[in-house]
Amino acid sequence: MEYKISNRLRTGAIILIALGILGVGYGFWDSHHYKTVDDVKELLASEHHGGHEEEANNEHGTEMSHGEASEHVKESYNEEHAETSHGDEHEESASHGDEVEGHEMSHEEHVLHQIHNRPWSALYVAAFFFFMIALGVLAFYAIQYAAQAGWSPVLFRVMEGITAYVLPGGLIVLAIAYLAGDHIFVWMNPDMVDPNSSHYDALVAGKKGWLNKTGFIIRGLIFLGGWVAYRMISRRLSLAQDKSDDNKNFKKLFRWSAAFLVFYIYTESMMSWDWIMSVDPHWFSTLFGWYVFASMFVSGITVIALISIYLKSKGLLEFVNDSHLHDLAKFMFGISIFWTYLWFSQFMLIWYSNIPEEVTYFVTRIEDYKLTFFGMVAMNFIFPLLLLMNSDYKRIPWFVVMAGVVILCGHYLDIFNMIMPATVGDRWSIGIPEVGAICLFAGLFMLFVFTALSKAPLLAKRNPFIKESEHFHY
């Protein structure tokens, strides 16, 4: 079945991109209203302190809070926690007496940084979210090949379409990380590793063997190079298999997939340290790579299901039946629970032992991000658990779409919760910069994915498992 990207879809994607650029542009313009510490002083004085979420947009709120004095106490208390997010972990720096001097930053200056970080972080979170969907699908695709799955070959072309976003998406994430510099990654500030600077941080300096800008970019390019190479090789072999008269290409693809999975599991882990965990350079967690993997895997599978349902509703995937949908929904269900398992394991181990140097990570999240932090658990766990448990519901397209949309929103929040507390602290919000960035990358994602989908027939013809897959029945 040939697919041609419809004009409506293309226009929709372009409108999304345009809206997104406007939103992102507004975010930068808005945040750069505040140039100096004095601007922030004015902002803080005029702010209604109860509504932290609205602060960034609500620059000149006139109402004066009656609880001003007590709120200022809270502010300075929050500052300690927010400083953690800037890599100035309070407890630790206290133990290095000589450094404490270097960490003195006025509250206003600190808020100024947070305001300036926000549009960058919003952009980065959305960019990474859409990139990770494509990467998750690539891993799923390789697993299907390596496991010689009999049910999924009819969906290979959909997966190949989605993975077309790995290259542009990955480059965009790297570019944003590079351009944002210490707006997202505090360790990219050269002062932090300079012993003569007032911003010197011994802990960050101790990690500079790994956390340095050159290394970050080189590693990023290696990861991306490997993933993109597998994507291109697999696509080429998969298309060649359509035209060949033996299974040589399939066998090659099988071997490449197995090799890719080994490469992927190492690089994905390191990518999660580099691209996400290093926003909190004082904090570390050993299962973080797995946790990020679970997030990208379940989002990827969800997007495969959503796009398959969309294409099927257009009558383009007549060989995809509700058993395929059922299998995808089972994966969504199972991996959602796997994600929760990892989320909880990470949280509970740190909560239980309550070691100050680790627990600050969750302290900031629970204090300032209560709604998104626990809301995301409900969206990523309870919702799919109850919705997708029933076998019959997993075969109903609109049910899967509903669950899928909630899962995707939940995993956006997941990434949001990983990045934002470290960069904007308690001055977070989901407003124009965030939604704008989501629109921008959603549009780009759609454009790349559906263009790639229209480049090849939607059914892989000579895959050795294609007959089995077409008649797959559960």
Binding site: F344, F347, M348, W351, Y352, N354, M389, S391
Partner: protein, 179 residues
């Protein structure tokens, strides 16, 4: 009322059995029972058996297990003797919940699994020392047996079954007390 006379048609191949079941169902005869040495995929559908509800019971048992776990730990750790153990906050259930989750999870699984298995045993009448209901010992090895009730139509049934590839057809007088 159960028929006192039944026909046992014996097959040696599950595909033949499946087509025989479809044929017999098409002729609107009631199949009392089918004995097979292993699960035959799709047989329940061909016979028109209703889907099992055991998964639903398992879900409910799981809810019971979760409730038991929560009530138990809430009473013991929070209500009855809220001791300070290593600084864990035992002021309310929610505050100390992460520590209880492993037990909540395990008890949910424990109740769901075990009660579901017991339900299965009860519903399918299986217990130790139960007398095996086996009309023909070969059905535990490599033969398939279809049991059809006779209602004054023995000859017609036998000729129908003969056409379905049965290797052996026996008319049996059923002992009413057997069940």
């Amino acid at each position: 009322m159960e028929a006192s006379k039944v026909i046992h048609a014996i097959y040696t191949d599950d595909d033949v059995l499946m087509s025989a079941v479809k044929k017999v169902k098409a002729e609107k005869h009631h199949i009392e029972e089918i004995y097979t040495p292993f699960p035959v995929h799709g047989l329940d559908k061909a016979m028109g058996l209703e889907p099992t509800r055991i998964a639903i019971t398992a879900f409910m048992y799981g809810c019971v297990g979760l409730t038991v776990a929560i009530t138990m730990m809430n009473f013991i750790m929070i209500k009855d003797w809220p001791q300070d153990i290593g600084g864990k906050p035992s002021f309310s259930y929610l505050e100390n919940m992460p520590a209880f989750v492993p037990i909540m999870f395990e008890l949910t699984v424990f109740f769901a699994a075990h009660l579901m298995v017991i339900t299965f045993y009860l519903r399918s009448r299986m217990w130790p020392f139960k007398k095996a209901e086996n009309p023909d010992p070969r059905t535990t090895d490599d033969h398939f047996l279809m049991e059809i009730a006779v209602h004054d139509n023995e000859d017609e049934l036998i000729s129908l079954l003969k056409g379905t590839g049965a290797v052996e057809i026996n008319s049996i007088d059923k002992d009413e007390d057997a069940h």
